[in-house]
Symmetry: C2
Subunit: 304 residues, 2 copies
């Protein structure tokens, strides 16, 4: 019976590959027996390495597509990877096809380049014209990019599909908690971050003692932390609040916190970080909790 199941599954798999361009593959559930090869499109941070490790742990084939100027090479150099310029989308697609990649996952933060830096190749220019991507850098490009890639026969999944045990669950990580006054700050900060997200400005806000020190622009969260650090008042340090934009394409750019995040917060004399339960990824939970406990920083996921 089991044997027969595998044969049928294999036949289905071959069939699904033939129809991959018409996206029939989405209706054929082959996991966990034969997961297709995964292409990890790697931005910055720790996430690409984590996904690669998860693939190794699960015996899944994968390839990393590192983006010039975005991916931290140190993080991925021990895995199979190829580097391309962000504008060379056509070349990237060809590389992934040649390597028989079916599923794609976008992992890690992407610094938005200028159009000049991008130097779009023929594929990207054609798609940009077709999809009306007038302004590269607009957040809507992300969902349009997914559409275009699915049109090319790839299936795009979210990092949380692979790291499902890393999705933030409600509550605090570790033994540190915000004070009552900080609870009020968090409430205000969540509202601010959400509005700032709705306006497609950024995902994060920094609050301290009732004051919003700053909100994220396209400069990103690290830059936000850097510029808010010297703006802090004495007393309890600032709180970083990071939410999802309501309209956000969840398969790309889900907030991620990890050990490095906590270390940055400690260095910056922040008092804590708040993320949304179910809408953020927490990497290396145990190590992260250990560092948070030692340093007095609170890490909190709230339902919002």
């Amino acid at each position: 019976m089991y044997q027969k199941c595998i044969v049928i599954t294999s036949q289905l798999w071959i069939l699904s590959r033939l129809f991959v361009k018409s996206r029939l593959v989405q209706f054929v559930n082959l996991a966990p027996l034969m997961e297709p090869k995964l292409g990890i499109v790697a931005g910055g941070g720790e996430l690409p390495r984590k996904l690669a490790s998860a693939c190794i742990d699960n015996g899944r084939e994968f390839l990393i597509l590192a983006l010039e100027g975005q991916t931290n090479k140190r993080m991925i150099e021990s895995f199979p990877y190829k580097t391309i310029r962000m504008g060379d989308v056509g070349k990237g697609i060809k590389f992934l096809r040649d390597a028989q990649v079916i599923e794609l996952v976008f992992a890690g933060s992407i610094k938005r380049p200028s159009l000049r830096e991008l130097k779009l190749d023929a594929w990207a220019l054609k798609k940009a014209a077709l999809l009306g991507l007038k302004w590269i850098g607009d957040d809507s490009i992300l969902s349009k990019l997914i559409q275009a890639l699915e049109g090319e026969g790839f299936s795009v999944i979210g990092p949380d599909d692979i790291l499902s045990n890393c999705i933030a669950s409600p509550g605090t990580y570790g033994k540190n908690f915000p004070t009552d006054e900080q609870e009020a700050d968090i409430k205000h900060g969540l509202r601010v971050a959400r509005v700032v997200g709705e306006l497609d400005i950024g995902q994060a806000a920094v609050v301290q003692q009732g004051i919003v020190l700053g909100v994220e622009g396209i400069d990103g969260t690290d830059a936000l932390i850097r510029r808010c650090t010297p703006l802090q008042r004495s007393g309890l340090g600032a709180i970083l609040i990071k939410t999802c934009k309501p309209q956000q394409e969840r398969r790309i750019d889900l907030p991620v916190i990890g050990v490095d995040t906590i270390k940055t917060l400690v260095q910056s004399k922040f008092s804590g970080v708040v993320i949304e339960a179910g809408r953020a990824i927490v990497l290396d939970k145990n190590e992260l909790t250990g560092i948070a406990d030692q340093s007095g920083v609170f890490v909190m996921a709230v339902e919002f």
Copy 2:
């Protein structure tokens, strides 16, 4: 008749000074014959100097109260002034009283200090306790400060009361205009700046080619321009949009643009600046227009 009028006015004036603490002075209109001595509480930028010049032009007595770490000494050193620490509010009030100042005007941007930097004196601590100023730095402190100063017998006026011909009128200054696409950016930017103001985050936003590059936090407009400069894409440069917070105490912190603003925008390769008609001060209009025309930067005041 004229002589008599002066005598009566002088008597009224002496009377009004006796009742100044009960704020009767507000009902005695002595202008323009005998305007009371003006205290200019000076923040950064060109505004303090402009107000001092306007006083000289109108033959009005004045004194500048320069704030340590805020006022640009070069701007005011040719006028009568005294420097105090921002926290020494009681000392400042005594100084103004001794100098027989009746009306006060707040001029120029104030960088918000931390509580530690402030080191509030006895007067300020008492008022802070009475007025519930839990968090110095909150915007509401400004209107509370005005209340407190009026309780001390001063009348607080806005810079636009003195520089009424400097209030921004609708339209463009000079010959440069935004493009149709930039008009859409401006519309979006105004909406963003207004929401960011409502949330008491800041007054300004920077937009370019459909993208919000950043919004002002408590770091201020100059810092916003600095951090958005390298985030610009190629093509038409970014636009600075500066609005009033809807809840703003207009007598303090009305947006001001001047020659220096335009020079900063030119250096930063911005394409223009948008302010609110009737809710911003434009200094040195002719010189500003000349520089804007030469450099291709547009300056626009919109009704909003």
